[in-house]
Symmetry: C2
Subunit: 241 residues, 2 copies
Amino acid sequence: MAIDRQTIVYDGPGGPFEGVAVTDSDLDGPRPGVMIVPNVLGAKEEDSVVGERLAALGYAAFVADVYGQGKRTTRESPNPAVYMAELNADRALLRDRLFASVAAMKALPDVDGAKTAAIGYCFGGKSVIDLARAGGEVLGVVAFHGIFDAPDYDYPTPITAKLLICHGWDDPLAPPEAVTGLAAELTRAGADWQLHAHGNAGHAFTDETMAAGVRPGFAYDANAARRSWKAMRDFLAELFG
Amino acid sequence: MAIDRQTIVYDGPGGPFEGVAVTDSDLDGPRPGVMIVPNVLGAKEEDSVVGERLAALGYAAFVADVYGQGKRTTRESPNPAVYMAELNADRALLRDRLFASVAAMKALPDVDGAKTAAIGYCFGGKSVIDLARAGGEVLGVVAFHGIFDAPDYDYPTPITAKLLICHGWDDPLAPPEAVTGLAAELTRAGADWQLHAHGNAGHAFTDETMAAGVRPGFAYDANAARRSWKAMRDFLAELFG
């Protein structure tokens, strides 16, 4: 196994964008592609590490950039959410950047364009649910501690991408009424959806850097992280056959 | 592989009871035990078939009887729910019969008493949640389209058995408010719990004999059946290490 990273600069509305392709260069030929949509901070080392975990499973991973080249923040930035806020205020622009990112993934030489999926964390979880809503051409999406509010545009139904929503039940950004609202929305939209609620887990449960007690309802949770990753693996295996 | 069935008669309050042990007699030595609590109709062929699937995975399966020897119904019975109704009216008696059933499973020669779990369908799903609530000595329980109302007795906390609740979101017997109620209850009780909501699935989603359209909200659902079985396998693998 030889896991390689390659910076990929690609176009789209408000671009250029800078993603990272992560693949096992010991494998031959096209393989299923999995796009990773980062959290509020944008593409960072942790996302490439997720890409490496996916590449080790035999997938071609692609860390997407929906903010634009060089637009990144950290938890210590004056406003860590500055770029996210722009897209939360323009969900159609987020959609179009997601579409551009999927196209960039499908253009990678080792990606089988007929077998792709997207996963995302926090804002990236919201993004991949939007990707499914908007008719993005992926077989399925997995949201980890995503946000559930519907976009302000109409979208085509039925939703064709399958959805797996991995949710910490105690997430203050997605309380029970948001869960029941999303469930009703996805059912109305004819989606094939599953929601895994993890008891005692809050927002950011996959994020090992998120210590408990710093921000109420935000914390890494080893059980939810491990179990949701396994569920994702099962889901991807089903998608790609 | 040589999957065998053996009728097991055992004692308990209101007994005798008649269960079925299902095991691979080609395997040597004790192995993890998985108890199956049947649906409203009581132990029947379908439960032993589930036992065979579990035995093929290397577990020692045990179909429990919480009604009493000879007390069984069919969908065509004048009152299919007659025995279930008795136990819904006496949840403490249900608890005690579940405890007797766990003891019977642990007494089986091929069961490793330190590694046991229980699964259940419909009323059996409710039963295994009660088993966890009441402090039953199993490592974990899996409810398939269970019913979520809490028993009328106080139970010790924290709940120590882990719970996986596999739920059809459209189940009319467990609407969204029952889901949020169970989540709150299990969180208060300190349980390690997960709830997998399956979109578009209703009650009895594992039951291949349940044709769609006969009873609103009740139907077999191949996706939910397959995915929840896989989730159960992952859960048992985690429990038994």
